[in-house]
Symmetry: C2
Subunit: 248 residues, 2 copies
């Protein structure tokens, strides 16, 4: 039995998130079906995170244990031939059986994208939220700096999450504009449920003048979901990178 | 009667190009329908070019003559409320009745995009061609320099075109890589039918080693469509910018 680490991209628009669900099409289910068609054996797949419905991934890592002799490019080609056009595997490598795509990850990067112009943009329709009032990206970048550091991020965790340790280390956080596209980027050693979407929603409330620019530290200190802003829509979110120490 | 210059973006995937056709959905038809719903009057729309089926536009300019009092942002909002999500108007301004979106244009820029990686990319599925063998963007950039200048581009004009003067001035032409995306960019005072797609198809044959890197000048000199390469697929092409002297 060999553990394989698969790296993929997906457009999450058509999917009910990563995780297998009853009566809903998910990315995990779709990938499992492709692995079964390629290897002839039904085997479980473990993902690096559980993305929500409508969330995208430019780099998503997962493992599967297989007896199949297919490796590298041969496995990639075989899987892609059995996957729909909105999911594509682009890396496949052998990892030790102690490797876990979620627990072995030392850092992840998410992007949250906003199309900021009076008119909507057909090319960003499913991949960014549309905000018409002009955003001050420099001010938001200053505000976002308040997230950096090791903090208890329970204020930015969806209510109902069962995670016990809500302390995370945010290593980088920033907002930048490129034409009409405003991108919020955040790297951390781990993320709580809906954390980036609540961070983005809070920044959008700062942008709207509903909260002062320097309000992030006190929202963190409040240790209450009620202190933070609304959860921003899923379609603006994309898992951009997963870092491991040993591989890649 | 006031002539309005409308600027729009569209994802051409679902459309049979710009130009109105019988029994096919086109961008011009869709926009005409929206103008009629907004103004109550059916009026013609003149475009800056005739994009083919599947070709996209980040900036497409067209005019319509109207008695409607709607102007600027009000007209933009009204039109967008009546357009499907893959077409959006983002600018509207008054122009003199002598202004013509095609004949008044002094320059246009097209991009031709190639996703160059072994695995396909779900995010570029309908907006780039997928080439798996590694492309040497620097070499292609050198090759593309051969297009620059005022030349008879009849070798790069689709057979059957009725245009008489096939001399065009290519002002800029280049190829650049950004990660897996290779972009061919070309600016000229005008373009012949399928010109950019034939240029791109010829560059792809150079990339494949079927033609030498310095072959563009002799293909131009041959003055024959047969001398150039195949027409590259429509979905990689996007009209990126239209320049006018008076407005914008």
């Amino acid at each position: 039995m060999q553990r394989l680490l698969l790296t993929l991209r997906y457009d999450g628009t058509r999917y009910h998130g990563w995780q297998v669900q009853k009566n809903a099409v998910t990315v995990q289910q779709t990938l499992q079906d492709a692995v079964e068609r390629v290897t002839g054996v039904r085997s479980g797949i473990t993902g690096c995170s559980r993305t929500d419905a409508g969330v995208h991934a430019d780099m998503f890592c997962c493992t599967t244990d297989t007896e199949s002799p297919l490796r590298g490019d041969d496995m990639i080609s075989a899987l892609n031939a059995n996957l729909p056009r909105d999911i594509a595997v682009y890396d496949c490598r052998e990892v030790p059986n102690t490797f876990h795509p979620r627990y072995s990850a030392v850092r992840k990067r998410y992007l949250y994208r906003i199309w900021n112009d009076r008119a909507r943009n057909p090319f960003w329709e499913n991949h960014a939220v549309h905000i018409t009032r002009p955003l001050d990206a420099d001010m938001l970048n200053q505000a976002a700096a308040g997230f950096v550091g090791r903090h208890d991020f329970v204020s930015f965790c969806a209510a109902g999450s069962s995670v016990e340790d809500t302390v995370r280390n945010v290593l980088h956080c920033g907002v930048a504009r490129e034409g009409g596209l405003v991108t919020f980027s955040v790297e951390a050693d781990g993320f709580l449920y809906n954390m980036v979407r609540i961070m983005a929603g809070t920044l959008l409330e700062i942008a709207a003048g509903k909260r002062p620019c320097d309000s992030i530290p006190e929202i963190i200190a409040a240790r209450s979901r009620d202190a933070a802003g609304a959860t921003a829509p899923a379609k603006g979110l994309i898992l951009s990178r997963v870092y491991y120490n040993d591989v890649k």
